[in-house]
Structures are given as structure tokens and as C-alpha cells.
Amino acid sequence: MHCVSCIYLLENLHKIQKGIVCSEVNFVKKDLLIKYNPHEISLRKIVETLCAIGYVPTINLKDAENKLVKKSNHTLIYKIGIAGFCFANIMALSLPEYFDGMAVLTRQFTIIFRYLGAILALPVILYSAQDYFISAWQSIRVRRISMDFIIAVGLAGLVIQSYYDVLSGRGSGYFDSLTGLVFFLLISRFIQQRTFNALSFDRDYKSYFPLAATRLVNNKEESININNLNPGDHILLRHEELIPADSLLLSDAAYIDYSFVTGESEPQKRESGNLIYAGGRNKGQSIELIVSQKVSHSYLTKLWNSDAFRKKSAKSMGQWADQIAVYFTIAILVIASATAVYWWVYNPSIIMKAVTSVLIIACPCVLALTIPYTFGAVLRVFGRNGLYLKNATSTEQLADIDTIVFDKTGTLTSDNDFEIKWEDGKPGEYEQQLLSSLIAQSLHPVSRQLRKEISIDEIKFPIINWEETVGSGVSATIDGNDVKLGKYLFINPENAQEAENDDTYIGINGELHSRFSIKHNLRKDAGETVKKLKSAFNTFLLTGDGERDKEELFKYFTSSEMRFRQSPHDKLEFIANEKANGHKIMMIGDGINDAGALKESNFGITITDDINAFTPASDAILDANQLAKLPRFAAMAKSVKTIILGAFIFSAMYNCIGLSFAVRGVLHPWIAAILMPVSSITVVLYSQLAVNLTAKKYKL
């Protein structure tokens, strides 16, 4: 789904296909909801129609499992709505008193207004603000000071003081400040939660696996949900299909592409009787397998479920906020006790009022607002530039990075960007014609890559005796010539002493004609990006591949920075070791083979050509075309710290003004009512402005 016409077409499906009642698009989530009449049309037919018009639906295990589990994330909006409603009404009710209403209003009216305010504040305290109190209670139980804890203390101070004032008839209380504060805080929380709806950051193997497999029962094919596959089942796998469970190979030989699982870019050859691990993709001919493990017990799924692959998610506003909160608490305690001591000496009757005033005004609401607003603004700037953060607080992790680890296949290199190197010169026109005829039907990756290289569309010659030998090559008789393409031994079986290498040979009429090798190029800008990053970060390269592209990589990495033939577990361990040495690590990878490393790292980035395609769980998704911006992303994330520091100064300034009233015990409700919105609004404007300026500075 890209544009208006897509929505138009999809929402008018009922006019194209009989039996569909109506359809509704959610453009952001890329969802299509179809209502249809099962008596008139089958689900299968609908899917076929969709495919026919070019919208192939994604069918995978994950979606099938959380069918109709509708995420209701409305609670926060309810809370904001209620807080806003109460805030506005209480504000209106308190205004008359601020404007010296005592002269105009009778005493009776003043009391009624105060009580109305006190009643309206109840839903805010009991419902809207409950998260802060719950979170504070949790941090007390783990004996840790968090931002929410101080906010809750401030709120509690406001509540107690306000109800005391109103019930004892001493004053109007701070209900407007209280509700306004909750309202602004909830909005900042809402901003913090907002992220990119259409992207999934927590995908696991379930979104990678297909929904069904083809099972053979008495030589008949039937579709079966892969969760119901049992050991001993006989399954059939066609070209490009995914192996759903660990299985034994029945067919003679198979080529399995494990690039997503292990990072090796070349398909692996497996022979009859070999155990084939789930997650690989069958390349070439259809193969038959016997399932040896249930899907949930397969090697890959076990790897995924192992504890090392789970990263605990911090739910707080982030580490910085909590670090600041500690200093804040100490400062407040010092000021509050100093105030208490002072008034105990000079005028013990206002100790209570002065101390609660300190607690109220020192509430770090300004900081609590800035951090989400700043992170939220950064999130949007990054999103505009092709780096999609999982949530706003991940900016913080990104800012602390000092080491960057790259995966090679699919990350620095691109699967679609390769070069064919002819060892003995490119074949002539006639030979190219022969070759293009030969490979036209072959599905092997080398054939497909070669097809792009020679790009002759027309096939002029009839093809006789076409044969593909799995693991060796293809051969056919074309225009009277015996043409062969494949491994050296396939072309020249007698001459076995020739060194076996990865090159592909072309034989015409039994003679070696030429040979070529395929080199995957680094992505455009990848090399430059690595060079730039080297000035500020330690860089490493981990790859599942052998040392094939070593020379190319030496331009950018020293040999001590490269690790070859790394299994997913090696990668994970490498990151864990570096972490143990006190480094903060960013991992950039693309496949399931990096999934563990991505999770173990402090900040995992998945790089992908299509941001809606499957990506393993990570903290951020980077559009592959934007790789060159990575150094600037990192630099910008670092300067976010300065922005937050600026907000801290703002916050301190407002607190000093407020505290100067509070310690004297003269914090009138109207002072709080003015200070609170003014400080909130200025600080939000400040962070927005600061982020925009920084973005401009880094040209993002």
C-alpha cells in the first residue's frame, strides 16, 4: 500500500469481486479488513483476487495466533480526556477567587466553588494519576528512587494540602495546579508511547515462519498448520519454501539457503539423510523431508527462546531521568529539612505549610515533561530520515554507544548488489546467447545472478535435454552445442586434481570455455560510513561467511576487528564479552542469525531494504538507503544529552523561583497556578526548538 489509489482500489473490492461485502483499509498499519459472504466466496478466492491485483497478503504463524486480539490502548487517552475536562473546569471555578473575587462573591459562593473543585479533582487523583502512585509504590518496594516516585510525592503533597485547605476553610487549595500537572504529564506520557504503528520491533520466529506446510499422506498433498506437524510427518518443500521444523532429508540432495539464520550467503548443500535445521529456504528442486522435531522444539526456535535472547525492557522514563531523580530527591530533602528547622525556630505554626509547599513546588514536573518531549521530537526527526526507533527512550541508549559491531551479509553488503568477475574475459555474443537459454529455467541463485549480468531477453535457440543436477550445475543441448554451467568437476569430471574452488565454470562441447566468480559489493556508502564512524567509535565486523571478501574489507577493518565464520551464538558471546569489558555496544545486523546479538547489544539496529518486511527484534529499524546517515544519527543522539541538561537548568530556575515562595510559607495557589503552565509550556517549546536546531546542524 503506497498511495491514495491503493486505498481506493482496496476499498472498492466489492465492485471487483462478487461475495465481498465491504472492505476497510488502515493505511498506517497496512491492514485491510474484509467482510465477505462465505456462501458466495471462499477465503482462498479472496486471497487470489488480492494477489491478482498486486496486493499479496502476508500469511504467517504470528498473525494467525493473535487473531482478533485487538490492542486496546485507549486507557491513556481516557485518562487524558478526564484530566483535561477536570482541569479546565477547576481552572474556571478558581479564577474568580484569584481576581480578588472575595469582594464580589459572597462567602457562600466561594465555599461552593471550592467544594466543586475538590469533587472534580477526585477522578483525576483516583483514575488519571493512578499510574504515578502505582509506579511510586513499586519503586519503594525495590528501594529505588525513580522520577515517578518524586512526581507521586509532589502530587500527594498537593492532594493533602489542597483537601486540608478546603475542608478546614483556610483557602482554595491547589486543585487547578494538581489537575493541570496530571494533564500535562499524561500528555507527555502519550507522546512517549507514540511510535511507528506500522513497524513491528518485537517480531520473533513466528512472524518468519509460514502458516502451513505441505504434508504428504499416502502420496497425496495436504496443507497442515505447522503447529500440528509431528515428528515422522512426511513433508514436501518447493523452491523458495521455508523449512518449518528440523527434519531429515529424504531426497538425494538439496540446496538450502541459510543466509537468514546463519549469515552465510551461499546456499548449503545437504545430502540424503542429513538433518536439516528449520529456518532455511529451499533453493531449486522440490525436496521431501521427514519431520524430526516439532516446530516449537526446533533448534532455531529453541535458540530464540533461550534466556540469553531475551532482554529485559525498562519501563521507566529512562536511566537519565532516574539518575537525575536521585539528585533531585537529595536536594529536596535538604531544602525541606532546612525549611523545617528554620520555621521550627522562628514560627512553628507554619512548619507544615512550608514543608508541603517545598514538596509541591520542587516536583520535577518540568523534567518529567522535557525528557519525553525531547525524545519524542528526536524520534520524529530520525523517523523522517529513515531510522525508526522502537520507542522514544531508545535515544538514550543510542547516545551512550561507544562500540559499533557490524554484520556483513545483508548489512554491509546487499543481496541485490553483486558483481560477476570473469576470470578469462566475458564470453562473446554467441556464447552469451547460449548461456541465457541455458539458465532461463534454472532457479539457482548463481543462475539468477548471471541472468542479470548477461541480460539477453530473447531466447533464440530451442533447448533440448535440459537437466539440473543439484549441487553441480545445469546442462543442455542448445543449437547443437553441449552447454554446461556449474562446478569444475561437473564440466570436466576426469580432471579431478584441479583445485576445488567457489568459481563457476562454463563448458561448451566438453571444453572449458570460461569461468567467473560472484562478488558481493559493499552497499553504496557503507565503506565511507564505516570510515567516518571509526573516528568516534570502536568498530568490529562479525560474519557467518568465510574469508571470501577479506581484501575488500581490509580497506575498512583491521584483521583484529574482523571475525569470520561466526555462528549466531558466537556473535552473541562476542557482544556479551565486550559488554563485560564495559563497552556500550551498537549491533547492526539484518537476519535471524543476528537476532541474539541484536538483543544482547545495548542498541540493536536492523537494517532492511523494505521496512515492512520481516526483521528480527531490535531497538531500531534502519532503511538501508540511509546507512550513510548513521554517523549523524549517532552524533545527534549524543547532543540530546546537552538538550536535556538545558532543560535541567530551566527546571532548576523555575524551582528556585517557586522555592523562594515555598520556604517562606507564602506559596499562594495563584502563584502555583501561574508557574505550573508557564514552566511546562516554555520547557516544551525549548526542547522542540533545541531538537529542530540540532537536527538542522546535522542536516537530518
Binding site: 489509489s5 488502515n26 498506517v28 498499519k29
Partner: protein, 61 residues
Amino acid sequence: MEIILALICISVVIAGTFLVAFLLSVKNGQYDDLETPAIRMLFDNNEKTEIEKEKNGNTGN
């Protein structure tokens, strides 16, 4: 002066009605998708010929 009391009651009730309306609209999912309806309103929904065109021409994107 007592009329103010009545006015306040009325205003709170009216504001409350809007609050309920807002909460209901959230509950019914009006705020779940803010993009598509904005685009959808641009469509003509009573032209048969347009649909025929769509059917034949605009299929690939």
C-alpha cells in the same frame, strides 16, 4: 446571584456530555487510524465509470 449556580451546573453538565462523547468516540476507534479517513474523503463514491477504469487500469501499485 443564584443564577450563577444554575449556570455553572448547566455548563458542567454540557462539558460532561462532550467528555462522554469524546470517550465514546475513542472507544469506537475513531482515533485509531487518523490517516486513512483523511484520504478516503477524497473519493467520489457515485461514479460507476470511474470504477470500471480502476478495474482495468490501475492494478499494479
